[in-house]
């Protein structure tokens, strides 16, 4: 039996709509479930006081600070390297053997499970370079982990900038560097920032790579060289060892809120910048 084009159109529409709704529903369910379980745990005391009794009681302040320090370290290292590499690939070189190698390496690195990065970080940063379990070891390991994403998304964003912008800029007497900074970068910024944001999310949520490189101490980190426990690791240990499901859900809820907040704030800032430059 043949289906009339009109009926076919309708069926496809319903199927596509159903797919989107299903995905939405799953997402909303997960977020709602965790917030419902964890939100009531979160108050100022939970945010501001240090964990006590292995995390059974007290708050999670040290893990919040630890998370922020590790993530900032990772992004501060990976963003300039990754964006620089992307500009090199997109603007300063033509397709050749070297660019293929760089791109192939980046793609391979992106596919490696994070626990392998953790193992590498443990062997190289923690032991060989004797950085011990520390914010720095964890940050460097995460930087390696997110580097491929930063390179890939930045390169796509740079390539998406219309070629004519570069020609116009050159024709007005700009040097290559001036063209990149004034004509290409502002247009690519949104895409680049999206890649960085994605990476920030992955850093905040990462467990395996951090537990092996930053440790799991509950003490407040005081420098790049202090060991620390991030929120995701805290959540993992609380749940895994049955210490306190209550506080585990509280931590998870806060993780979700934190990622949400970072996205909102970053997008607002980018919008403001883009609006100014348009």
């Amino acid at each position: 039996m043949r289906i009339s084009p009109r009926a076919g159109e309708r069926i496809v529409k319903v199927l596509i709509w159903a797919a989107a709704m299903l995905v939405m529903a799953v997402l909303v369910f997960i977020v709602a479930y965790i917030l419902a379980k964890g939100l009531h745990v979160i108050d100022w005391r939970f945010l501001a006081s240090a964990p006590s009794n292995m995390g059974r009681s007290g708050g999670i302040s040290t893990t919040i600070i630890g998370t922020l320090m590790v993530t900032v370290t990772a992004v501060v290292i990976a963003a300039p390297l990754g964006i620089g590499t992307a500009f090199y690939l997109a603007e300063y070189t033509r397709e050749n053997f070297v660019t293929k190698i760089i791109r192939f390496s980046a793609e391979s690195l992106a596919g490696i499970p994070s626990i392998v990065y953790g193992l590498f970080g443990l062997i190289f940063f923690v032991v060989y370079l004797d950085m011990r379990w520390s914010v720095l070891s964890g940050g460097l390991t995460l930087a390696l982990m997110i580097l491929p994403t930063v390179i890939r998304t930045s390169e796509e964003a740079i390539k998406a900038v219309p070629y004519i912008y570069r020609e116009v800029s050159f024709s007005l007497g700009a040097t290559k560097w001036q063209t990149i900074i004034k004509a290409v970068f502002p247009s690519a910024l949104r895409g680049i920032a999206n890649g960085i944001l994605l990476s920030v999310g992955r850093c905040i949520a990462e467990t395996a790579a951090v537990i092996l490189t930053a440790g799991s101490t509950l003490r407040m980190p005081t420098s790049l060289f202090s060991p620390t426990r991030t929120m995701a690791v805290h959540f993992y240990i609380l749940a895994r060892e049955g210490i306190s499901m209550e506080n585990a859900y509280g931590t998870a809820a806060l993780l979700i809120i934190l990622i949400f907040l970072i996205n909102v704030v970053a997008n607002t800032l980018i919008n403001r910048f883009v609006a100014k430059s348009r």
Binding site: E167, S169, F170, L172, G173, A174, K182, P186, S277, R278
Partner: protein, 253 residues
């Protein structure tokens, strides 16, 4: 013709990889004239314009032979600064190409590249060139708004103003009116005829009629070769070459 031509092009050939876009072309361009370079698609007109300001260099695999002298000095001379050369030779592109920034910032783009501050002088020169491009009255109250919000014709006049802000000696226009309405086209043509006192203008018109309206001299190119160049009237009333005659009367192209 003035004593020394602005450009002397000698035996120019231009290649993209193995493909030859211009073949052994020689042409003088006088200062303060409007020269139209006409020809059907793929005649090498755009390539010729882009060879003058060395924008053709940007294409991977591009290669040229022969010589282009500006004021007696080769534009490909090793000690010529390309950025300085391009400031002297402004270019307006076929499609309006405002950069994604405000109207003011678009016009100030060139001057700011050489470190002219954001002070009063830049504001003054922005106003001056916008007036020259017949755009000032349209935009004077919204200089800070995005250039993309202008109409196509306004955008092209903005691009024209942006080039004038460089204070160039030569202005190249590559089919600057091809997507524009007749009123915007008329405004641009009018500015051109006023501006030749100050600049040397090389234009690739988007049709033969425009060449007839605006130019002092016309050069006709076909498949990379210069077929004929002469004063406006001569080309249109007494073309020497049959192909020129066929093209300007609309028999092909």
């Amino acid at each position: 013709m003035s004593p020394q031509p602005k450009f002397v092009i000698k035996n120019l050939s231009f290649y993209y990889g193995g493909k030859r876009a211009i073949h052994d072309l020689s042409l003088d361009i006088a200062a303060n004239e409007i020269l139209s370079v006409i020809g059907p698609a793929n005649s090498g007109v755009t390539t010729l314009l882009r060879a003058l300001n060395r924008l053709g260099d940007l294409v991977p695999g591009a290669r040229m032979e022969g010589e282009i002298l500006m004021d007696g000095k080769s534009v490909y001379d090793p000690d010529v600064s390309v950025t300085e050369l391009r400031r002297k030779i402004g270019m307006v592109f076929e499609v309006p190409t405002p950069l994604p920034m405000s109207i003011f910032d678009n016009v100030a783009y060139g001057p700011r590249l050489i470190g002219k501050a954001n002070g009063k002088s830049v504001a003054e020169s922005v106003e001056r060139v916008l007036r020259k491009a017949a755009l000032w009255d349209d935009v004077k109250d919204r200089l800070k708004t995005p250039a993309m919000s202008l109409s196509g014709g306004q955008q092209q006049r903005l691009c024209f103003a942006r080039v004038l802000a460089l204070d160039p000696e030569v202005v190249l226009l590559d089919r600057p009116c091809s997507g524009l309405d007749p009123i915007s086209t008329a405004k641009i043509e009018e500015s051109l005829s006023q501006l030749k006192e100050q600049y040397t203008i090389v234009v690739a018109p988007h049709n033969v009629q425009q060449a007839a309206r605006i130019s002092d001299r016309v050069a006709f190119m076909l498949t990379g070769s210069l077929i004929e160049e002469n004063r406006n009237v001569e080309i249109f009333s007494r073309p020497k070459d049959q192909r020129t005659s066929d093209y300007v009367t609309g028999r092909f192209g």
